[in-house]
Symmetry: C2
Subunit: 463 residues, 2 copies
C-alpha cells in the first residue's frame, strides 16, 4: 500500500515534533562479555570472510590481536594453502512459460556459465531420487531443478539428508548430461535469500554450473512445473548466469592460542570453531558465535583458579570449503603428534544448548557422570547416539581416536539463516549466547581439571 | 556449520531409501476460491509488475481476461500515461572504517549515481529531526544516513511517521547539500532485504541518489557510527552505485469491470485494489491480495440474488509511483462525473480484518449500524477516527465527497514484507484471505442493497 498520508504541508517544526522523541534507534538487544564482544567485533569490523580472501586474512589478524588482548598464550597464525572458490556475478530468470526473476546464489565449487548466460530448458524433479532415476543422457543440454521438503528440526537432523541435494545433486545431474543444476535451498525460512554452501564433484563427474534458489522461488517453480505437467503451460526455460569459479591453492590459516594448565605435561583439551564464513552474510551464527562461545568458556573456566590441563583454542580457517584440506586437516599436520585428551567444537549457531552426548570409554563413566551432573541444573539432557565433533576437530579426533563431548544447540531456527545474507548479528540472542558460554564453562571446568586418564573415545564418531 | 556427514560411500540405492518417501515438496498451504486464484495467478503467471513496464501491461491483459472469465460486465482497460521510475543496477559497500557490503535498494524517483559509484563520507543521523537540524550546506559532497526506530503496530500506524524518512528525507538531505542519501528501510523485519518505495522531491530541491538498506545493515551502520562518534574508528566512507532513474510519461492503465445491479440508475459502489507492484517481489500482499479480496467479495455478494446497486471493481494501474497522476487520478478523469454512492479499497495485505471505520453522515446512522452488525459475529470491532480510503479511491472520494468504509486489516506483519523481495505468495494465509473475502462480502451485501440514499461522507478523509 501507499498510505495517502503524505504530509503535504508538514513543515520542519511539525517534523521536529514527530521525531524528537525517537532518539533510540532500532538496534536489537545488546549483549556484553567476551563471547558477545567477539561476535559483535568480527561481524562489525570484518564482516564476510570467505576462505582464501583478503577478508579472511584480516579476520586472522583480528583474531590474533583479540586472543592476545584476552590474555591467551602461544597465539599463532598457522597459514596453509587450501582449495577454495570465489563468487562472481549471479543472476537468473525464467523466460518461459512466464517471465520471473529468480533469487539465486551459486554453490561453492560451481563452475561458471557463459558470461551472457546459459539458456536452457529447466526440468523439474521433486526429489533427489527422481533425479537419480532419470535415464543417463536424458538431461543433455538442459538444467535440472531439484525440489525437496526440508523441515525444521531441533537437532538439525534435516541437514544430513536434505543437504545432500546440494552435496550430491550437482554430480548426479552432471552424470545425466545436464548443462547445469538449480536446487531448492537447503533451508527452512521463507525469505527471498537463497542458501549457499559447497557442493562436491564425485570422481569422474564433470563440474557444471550449480545454484540454489530461495524457498519462495522454489515454491513458484513447483507451481509452474505443475502447470507444465498438466499441459497448461509450455516447458520452463531458464536464463542462468553464475560466474563464480574454483580458487585452487588459496591462502588460508588457523589461529591457535592456549591457556596453559597447571600441569602442561598432561594431554590438552582442544576447543574449536571456525573463523571463515560464507560471503553472503557476516557469519554471526556461522561461526563467530562458536568462536565467542569456546573462547569465553575457556577463559571462564580459569575463574577461581587455573585449570589442571591446558585448554587450546582453535579458530579454524576454511571450514566451509575445506573438504579434505581445510583448517581441521592442517591442524593435524601441525599438531597431530601432540597429546590431546578431548576435543569439542561449537558450530551450530547461538541458540541454547539443550542436549549433551559423548563417546567416552567405559573407563571414563565417572567423568561422563560428572559432566552430565554439571549440566543437569541447566536443563541440558544427556542423549545417547553417535557424536559428531565437527569439521574442525574431526581430523584430530580421527587421528588420535579422541574422546568427544557434543553440546547440542537448539537448531530449530538455524537453517532459516545458515549460509544466507541473513546470518547477521541481530540474529544472536545475547542471553542464549551466554547460556552456551555457561554450559561450555561447566564442562571445561570438569574435563580440564580431570586428574585421571581420559581414555580414547569409542563408537561412532561419524564422518 | 558443515556437518561431517558426507555419505562418502552412499550409493544410489541408499539415496533411494533416503528420498523415496519425500515426494511432497515444501510448497506452503494452498488456498482455493476466486481470491486465492487471483493472487496465485498474478504472482505465478505475471510476477513483478512495476508501473510503466511491459509486465504491468501483461498484468492488465491477464486481469481483463480473468474478470471476463469470472462473469464481469463492461470489462475495460483504460490506458493512461504516468510518471514512473525504472530500477537499474544497485550496489553499495562501506569502504571505511571497515569493508562491508551493504544490502541496498534504490527508492523510486532516485536519480542515478555515476556508473562507477559515488564515493563519499557517510554521515550518521539517528532521526529525521537530526538531519533537519543539520546546518545548510553541511553535507556538501557527503551522503547522509538516516536511522529510525520503526516498530510493528497492528494498525500499521508506524508507516506514517517512519515512512516519512523515505518520503521526505531525500529532499531534506538535498537541501543540506548532500550528494546522496541512504536510509534505514521503513520495515519491521530483520531480513537482509531492503524495502523500496517512492520518495518525493519537494519543490525547489535537486533530486539526488537515494537508497534504503535492510535493517541488519542499518544496525551495523549504527554500531560503526557509535565507534566513529567515540573516536574509535575513522569516519565512514561509502561506495554507492544506484543506477535507477525516472521514467516520465510511462504507459499504464486501469482495469475496470462491473457487476450490474438490479437498478442501474442508483449511484454505484466502487471497490478497488491496485494491479501494479514493486519490482523486488511478486506483489502478493501488495496488492494481488487486495484485487483477489474485492473481486471475490463483489461476486459473493451476488449469491442469493443480484445486488440492487452496481458494484464496480477497479484494478488500478500505477498506485506505487502514481503520486498525482496514477490510476486513482485517471479514474476520476474517466468516471468522475458518474454517480457513486460509496468507495472502499483493499491495500494492506492479506491478514485478517479486525476493525471497521466509516465516515458516514448522521443521516446514514442506520446503515452504519447494519454494516457494523453484519461484522459483529466475525469479531470485527467498530472504531472511531478518520477513514483512509486509499490511494486508488482517494481521488474519487475527494471529487465526490464519498462515503467510505475502511475494513482495517491486521498489519502486525505487513511491514516485514512490504516493498521487499519477500512479498511472495507463501506469505498469504489462505484462511486469512478468505476471512477478508467474507468480511467484504458481508459489507457489500448491506451497502449494495441499500434502498435509501447514501449521503456524502463527512469528516476527516485524510490525504
Amino acid at each position: 500500500m501507499t498510505r495517502s498520508l503524505f504530509p503535504r504541508s508538514l513543515g520542519a517544526a511539525a517534523l521536529t515534533v514527530l521525531f524528537a522523541s525517537t532518539a533510540a534507534n532500532a538496534t536489537p538487544a545488546q549483549g556484553s562479555g567476551v563471547a558477545w564482544d567477539i561476535v559483535e567485533g568480527l561481524t562489525t569490523e570484518i564482516g564476510p570472510r570467505i576462505a582464501g580472501s583478503e577478508a579472511e586474512a584480516r579476520a586472522r589478524a583480528w583474531g590474533e590481536a583479540k586472543l592476545k588482548a584476552l590474555g591467551f598464550s602461544n597465539v599463532e597464525i598457522e597459514p596453509f594453502r587450501t582449495g577454495a572458490w570465489q563468487r562472481g556475478p549471479e543472476l537468473a530468470r525464467l523466460t518461459a512459460p512466464y517471465q520471473q526473476p529468480l533469487a539465486i546464489t551459486a554453490l561453492g565449487y560451481s563452475v561458471p556459465t557463459p558470461a551472457d548466460g546459459l539458456k536452457a530448458e529447466l526440468v523439474y524433479f521433486p526429489t533427489l531420487a527422481a533425479l537419480e532415476a532419470a535415464p543417463d543422457g536424458s538431461l543433455k543440454g538442459k538444467v535440472a531443478f531439484v525440489d525437496h521438503a526440508m523441515r525444521r528440526a531441533q537437532d538439525g537432523s534435516g541437514y544430513g539428508p536434505y543437504g545432500n541435494v546440494r552435496r550430491l545433486g550437482p554430480s548426479m545431474a552432471s552424470r545425466k548430461g545436464a548443462a547445469g543444476i538449480v536446487i531448492r535451498s537447503a533451508g527452512t525460512d521463507s525469505n527471498r535469500d537463497p542458501h549457499t554452501g559447497s557442493t562436491m564433484w564425485m570422481k569422474g563427474t564433470t563440474p557444471i554450473p550449480a545454484g540454489a534458489v530461495s524457498n519462495p522461488d522454489a515454491d513458484m517453480i513447483a507451481r509452474i512445473a505443475a502447470r507444465v505437467a498438466a499441459g497448461k503451460a509450455a516447458p520452463m526455460q531458464i536464463d542462468l548466469t553464475l560466474l563464480g569459479k574454483p580458487f585452487p591453492n588459496a591462502p588460508s590459516g588457523n589461529v591457535v592460542a592456549e591457556l596453559p594448565g597447571r600441569d602442561p605435561s598432561l594431554p590438552i583439551v582442544l576447543v574449536a570453531c571456525h573463523l571463515d564464513s560464507w560471503d553472503l552474510g557476516t557469519g554471526a551464527i556461522d561461526d563467530a558465535s562458536g568462536c565467542g562461545i569456546v573462547t569465553a568458556a575457556a577463559l571462564a573456566a580459569q575463574e577461581g583458579g587455573k585449570t589442571l590441563r591446558t585448554i587450546r583454542v582453535l579458530w579454524s580457517g576454511n571450514e566451509e570449503m575445506g573438504m579434505r584440506n581445510g583448517g581441521g586437516a592442517h591442524y593435524v599436520q601441525v599438531h597431530g603428534k601432540e597429546p590431546h585428551a578431548l576435543a569439542m567444537e561449537s558450530d551450530f549457531g547461538a541458540d541454547r544448548v539443550w542436549q549433551v552426548k559423548n563417546n567416552f570409554a567405559p573407563a571414563n563413566k565417572a567423568l561422563a557422570d560428572k559432566v552430565n551432573a554439571a549440566l543437569w541444573p541447566m536443563g541440558i539432557v544427556p542423549h545417547e547416539g553417535p557424536v559428531e565433533g565437527g569439521a574442525d576437530v574431526g581430523p584430530i579426533i580421527r587421528e588420535q581416536k579422541l574422546a568427544v563431548i557434543d553440546l547440542g544447540q537448539d537448531g530449530t531456527h538455524y537453517f532459516d539463516l545458515h549460509h544466507t545474507p541473513d546470518d547477521t548479528l541481530d540474529k544472536v540472542d545475547p542471553a542464549a549466547l551466554q547460556q552456551n558460554v555457561d554450559a561450555w564453562t561447566a564442562v571445561l571446568k570438569v574435563v580440564a581439571n580431570e586428574t585421571g586418564d581420559i581414555a580414547k573415545g569409542v563408537g561412532g564418531e561419524e564422518e
